[in-house]
């Protein structure tokens, strides 16, 4: 084999390897801010979502994105007349924008829930609260992730 042929062959091999490397990094399409907007529209329609009355507690920096403690507290008296009906958690960049939805009522006494969630990458997370009077409130926080929630 001439050295020119060998060089061509080498280039082909390198090209094949590069293509392989690209294939390896192909991951399921992440939820883009657009799909988050679509999920919000699907859930709340055209009702306005006002920032406030919701406190979303997440670590500022999560070392392990697989298990991130989260607490959502809604400022609501939780009486028969005025209570928080639902709490939602949304993600901007996880593969799916919806994370968790819970239903509450006056029987809960406190509009506060905690759980553990996966956070795929550094992004914004939101908590949204739907009140019995029809109003919708939200909170958004930034979270930085060192090791991605690979379980996603």
């Amino acid at each position: 084999m001439s050295s020119a042929d060998e060089r061509t062959r080498r280039r082909q091999v390198l090209r094949a390897l590069a293509a392989g490397a690209c294939l390896l990094v192909v991951r399921p399409a992440a939820a883009t801010p657009e799909s988050l907007a679509a999920a919000l529209r699907e859930t709340f329609g055209d009702r306005p979502i006002t920032p406030g009355r919701v406190k979303l507690e997440l670590p500022r920096l999560a070392e392990n994105g697989n298990v991130v403690p989260v607490t959502v507290t809604v400022d609501s008296p939780m009486t028969e007349q005025d209570y928080c009906e639902r709490i939602y958690i949304f993600s901007e960049l996880n593969p799916l924008p919806r994370v968790l939805e819970v239903q509450l009522g006056p029987y809960n006494g406190r509009a506060r829930i905690s759980s553990r969630i996966r956070v795929g990458t550094t992004q914004k997370m939101s908590a949204v609260a739907a009140m019995s009077d029809g109003s919708i409130w939200s909170a958004t926080v930034d979270i930085e992730v060192t090791v991605s929630g690979c379980g996603l």
Partner: protein, 100 residues
């Protein structure tokens, strides 16, 4: 959760179930997707009345953990039910004794 409470007190309830919560987005060692297997819903009833319902998506961590609150109104059972997307159902019952 506590076993006893005073009427009108708000009681903290902590729950956890062992479940893989396989998201369906991971690949196995030969590059094939691992099928999704998640807990889809978790409910709690207190004296037969639903007091908590959660809808879970794949972004909830392995071994789903929840903390929520219930106002102690009567001595009754709290029944917790987890349902997964393969028809698996797990239940747990805890009794709350309420005093005046």
């Amino acid at each position: 959760m506590p076993e006893t409470a005073k009427r009108g007190d708000t009681v903290e309830v902590r729950t956890m179930i062992t479940h893989p919560m396989e998201s369906g987005f991971r690949l196995n060692n030969v590059g094939q997707p691992i099928p999704r297997h998640i807990v889809q819903s978790f409910t709690c009833t207190y004296g037969g009345k639903e007091v908590f319902r959660a809808k879970l998506h794949p972004s909830v961590s392995t071994n789903p953990y929840f903390v929520f609150y219930v106002v102690a109104t009567q001595s009754a059972d709290l029944i917790f039910t987890w349902t997964d997307d393969r028809g698996g159902v797990a239940t747990h019952t805890a009794h709350l004794t309420v005093s005046d």
